[in-house]
């Protein structure tokens, strides 16, 4: 069963199509990965599904649980069960970790804050009263963001590069949360460049230049990735080559 349907969406930025007649079906209760080179439109797609400012004006439709999301604000989408893990989490001067997690938590209790922090490998006593500000490292901030999403118990989580800025030891907690969310019935969409993150998905989509190039089982996506890019302005750029190389290396291993 589809939880989310992306129906022929086209989104322009400065007259250029960032998403170009893109269609996808996201199965309920699965972990999906969206891969593709820099500038392919992966983060744009996540932002469009969430309805962020600057990403609401598009052609086509996005249907969540049978209802169109068109015209809905971010918070209305969130209250339907959609949330986004930002690639670069915001910092909140003066707001405690506990307040931040509770703000979106489904169940407003101290116990859920503690549980959420433990799930991401942070000792609650050391973090609950700390401010979500620049005194936290990027990795800590990311894990607190994930703890907040865990406490929210969403139906659909968009994770934009969940492992970026997180040290190798801590990545296991990110993967743990992805597994926990799936077990709890959430659907997860991973936007990633990382083969390690891609391994956590059940299913993957390859997009390039805002267009769906391929979709299928993760293992097959590795095999086909390097040969599937379509002609686009990004092809041949250093980032693109690096990504293709990374993913191909992983696939060969």
């Amino acid at each position: 069963m589809n939880l989310l349907e992306i129906k022929n969406i086209t989104l322009l930025k400065e007259g250029r199509p960032i998403l170009n007649n893109l269609s996808m079906e996201i199965w309920n209760g699965h972990v999906h990965a969206i891969i593709g080179p820099n500038g392919a439109g992966k983060s744009t797609l996540a932002n469009t599904i969430m309805g962020l400012s600057g990403y609401r004006d598009f052609e086509g439709d996005i249907v969540f649980n049978g209802e169109s999301l068109k015209g809905l604000s971010i918070d209305e989408r969130a209250r339907k069960g959609i949330t986004l893990l930002f690639q670069e989490p915001a910092r909140f001067e003066g707001l405690s970790v506990s307040q931040f997690i509770l703000a979106g938590a489904k169940e407003k209790s101290q116990e859920i804050v503690e549980e959420a922090l433990r799930q991401v490998g942070l000792v609650p006593e050391n973090y609950m009263k700390r401010a979500v500000d620049k005194t936290l490292s990027g990795g800590e901030r990311k894990r607190i963001e994930l703890a907040s999403i865990y406490a929210m118990k969403p139906r659909l989580v968009l994770m934009d590069e969940p492992d970026s800025g997180v040290d190798i030891d801590s990545v296991k907690y990110i993967f743990g949360i992805i597994k926990d969310l799936k077990q709890a019935g959430s659907t997860v969409i991973l936007i990633t460049h990382s083969p390690e993150v891609l391994k956590r998905a059940d299913h993957a989509f390859l997009i390039c230049a805002g267009t769906l190039v391929d979709k299928g089982e993760v293992s097959r996506m590795f095999d086909y990735f390097s040969g599937k890019c379509i002609p686009c302005p990004h092809k041949g750029q250093p980032d693109t080559d690096k990504i293709i190389s990374n993913v191909s290396t992983f696939a060969l291993n």
Partner: protein
Amino acid sequence: MAEQSIIDKDALIAELLASINQHKFAPDVAHIEIHGNEVLNRNLVDGLIVESQSLEDGVSVRIKVKRGVTIKNPVHFCFGLIPENGVQRIVINTVIEEGAHAQFIANCTFPNAINIQHLMNAEIELEKGASLSYFERHVHGPNGGVKIVPVTKVRLGEGARFSTEFELIKGAAGVIELDYAAEVEKDATVDMKTRIFGRLEDSIHIRESANLLGESSTGVLTSHIAIKDKASAIIENEIVANAPYARGHVDCKEIVQNEARARAIPIVQVNSHLAHVTHEAAIGSVDSKQLETLLSRGLTEDEATDLIIEGLLS
């Protein structure tokens, strides 16, 4: 008649303290309650000397913490006026003698204000190696009608430390004209913070300055202001570093909503090539990244904005 007066006094103390949510102090906590031009009550501890004198429209207070004494618990001051109208002028002269340490908490309460003026003139001297932490919280009624004019001059001797926080978050701010100035000698540190929420037609003018005179002296001036409706705020923070290795930082953040208006004027001046002063100022609407993060957790825009402001002013 005398008995009636005592009852009135007790009731006034109770009402003042209730308005700041403070009902009783432990015996070893120094506290002073001043209503209008009358010291209603006080409890002192060893090493703390407080002398007061009634003025026509207020009270003059001399405070001294004796050399080498550390006052264990914060000293609580409660200044206020229960009536709707009136003037309260507080003249304070404070000396923290060499090597002495204290914390003062001042609550200024005007819960029924319609037309109240609270004028504070303070001179604070911290001798060598002394420290004072001064926290001032204002509690106003919902309708404004208060004019607050705190003028404070602080002199910090060698190695002294002074930190102050001015908080006005509950109730309407009314008119605030805050002016704090510090002169900072060698190895001394001053840290001034203001946190104010302005609403309706509140008018807020903050002037804070630190003159870093001595080698390795430091100063941090922080103003976090949120204003909405038709409130206005002007923040002038100035640090002048005159000596080698003096260090200073000015941090001004203002969140502006509705038809409110804000202006920030950070001034940093360095008169020694070995000194260093920095500043950051951010004025405007709520940060969109913060807002979108909270919206994506299901908070409404109003809930998210309130939470961001609560954090900024916490």
